[in-house]
Symmetry: C2
Subunit: 315 residues, 2 copies
């Protein structure tokens, strides 16, 4: 299968072709300015590639319900040139199915088909960076609901050591207001990337992320939580979050180990998208993991959307 | 269709027959003691009734994955006589399909087919009583994940007026530890049912329940949240929870109104299971609602499970 994918971010769009094993065959990118400037090179590229389907993981809010007439339209975004832009219409000339998802739902599907949750029916992908956002796979289906999950603005308990008011313009001290990259910078007066691995910032950050993981676990009974995004480049955070999650759960829930979730890893794996290998000593090591696809999770996720649309309709 | 249903609670089991419109034709009950005492009258009843399928909404934890060999088994319960009890085996002699769910997942399905969320693909049912537990419907599918959603032990922020340590043996001051019926009684020294409608207990209770609703909304993007159980007999709580939810969300999410979620109410309604009529002035009035099936939500939910199994397999 020859498939097209677009990872549509707020600063750049990464696009390319690949196949149903998650292998990226070619990758390009273009700056995200306006549809008039950004889209033509992507359209021209796909017109020359004979793809069977195109998957798009897009910044939002976006209409992801295929039963709506405005399926694939970008809704009320602050990026005003893109408000009302419709992905399926933009690629109509290519003459193949165009499947649209949020960027984080594309990423969670990519990770579940080819990455850190390969073979799992239920997992969550959360990116912690400029903002906090998440995608949810439940019973093999991407969760949409009324629009799509947000996760970032969840209410969490303030860490007792934390006197920072919080940076969210809506809620001040919601999760995103306390634990996004900009929140870390505002609180400590320094970019997170400039703080030492043993800086107290990271224990506090882990506390907030652990509360999020606990609440996701209790609501979804999910099998794996993948934490990505710029803040998670601080790799020491993974163990800190795992420790705090165990403390918060206090034995109430038995976290899944690899053994009881990896029913069968039936997704094809390949050279450019190898998941991290886990040889977990504790169940929490297998439960809270980094993305397996690294920087490719967006584009591979878009290819996964396209691949899945050839197997089952986007419902 | 002639269908059987069992609402298996910790103190009694309600069982009966009904049809695919959610109509209950006959209803009986028996005390929950041990499988040896409790099950024979239910089995005898179904053997005499020629049912096409039996739905069971059971106390848990319970194995709800139909691909597991122990599908329908009660797992590690403190009700020791029931540990390892297998529902499908108990009714094998009837010779019809037996579909098993948690009590709250049965209730959410019943409400989505015939009750307060009739016609919606995405909703949550939470019961607030001796404990707090919830069931989740997402994209028309009941969420299972690793086992099934719990919801009750979610982490919430302590209300600034609250000096009660919390009553959860695992987490002390998780949602259930702060907001279940026993928590209300421990905090105020009086059963909730004996507290006046304007007692400060209810503002505090509403704060905790609103935090739960906010987090459910952000994780699931759900279309409706149904709050039931003994504590919600304090009907003034609904408006208090709606007010607090609006305050917490602070305009970040536009709550669904009836207009944009009630795509088509295609479930059959009937005399004994009429949903409450909502003529909401604010979207939150339609978003946070009481059960439409009242005391019948468990049994009607079990019938809904049976009805759905004749239309689609339990996946």
């Amino acid at each position: 299968m020859r498939l097209g994918g677009v990872e549509a971010g707020g600063t750049k769009m990464v696009f390319g072709i690949g196949d149903e094993t998650g292998t990226v065959l070619e990758m390009k990118s273009v700056a995200t300015t306006s549809p008039e400037e950004t889209i033509p090179p992507i359209l021209d590229y796909f017109l020359s590639q004979q793809v069977e389907a195109i998957g798009v993981g897009s910044f939002g809010p976006i209409q992801v319900d295929p039963d709506r007439p405005n399926y694939g339209a970008i809704l009320n975004t602050p990026k005003t040139p893109w408000k009302g832009f419709e992905w399926p219409r933009a690629f109509a000339q290519v003459g193949c199915p165009v499947v649209i998802e949020t960027d984080v739902n594309a990423a969670v599907l990519g990770e579940a088909m080819y990455g850190a949750a390969a073979g799992l029916s239920d997992c969550v992908y959360v990116t912690i960076g400029t903002g906090i956002g998440g995608g949810v796979l439940a019973g093999g289906n991407l969760v949409h609901g009324l629009l799509h999950p947000e996760i970032g603005h969840m209410l969490v308990r303030r860490n007792p050591q934390d006197s920072f008011a919080g940076g969210c313009p809506y809620h001040r001290d919601c999760l995103e207001g306390l634990a996004s990259g900009p929140a870390v910078e505002l609180r400590w007066g320094s970019k997170g990337s400039a703080l030492e691995a043993d800086h107290p910032a990271w224990d506090m950050e882990a506390d907030y992320l652990a509360q999020m993981v606990v609440n996701l676990t209790l609501v979804l009974s999910t099998k794996r939580v993948i934490l990505g995004g710029g803040v998670m480049h601080q790799a020491q955070l993974y163990d800190k979050v795992r420790d705090r999650v165990r403390e918060y759960l206090a034995g109430y829930i038995e976290l899944p180990s690899s053994a009881n979730t990896n029913s069968s890893v039936n997704a094809s794996l390949n050279g450019n998208a190898l998941p991290k290998q886990h040889s977990p000593e504790k169940p929490s090591d297998a439960f809270i993991v980094p993305p397996g696809l690294g920087d490719l999770s967006g584009l591979v996720g878009a290819l996964a959307l396209a691949a899945r649309s050839r197997i089952k309709p986007p419902h």
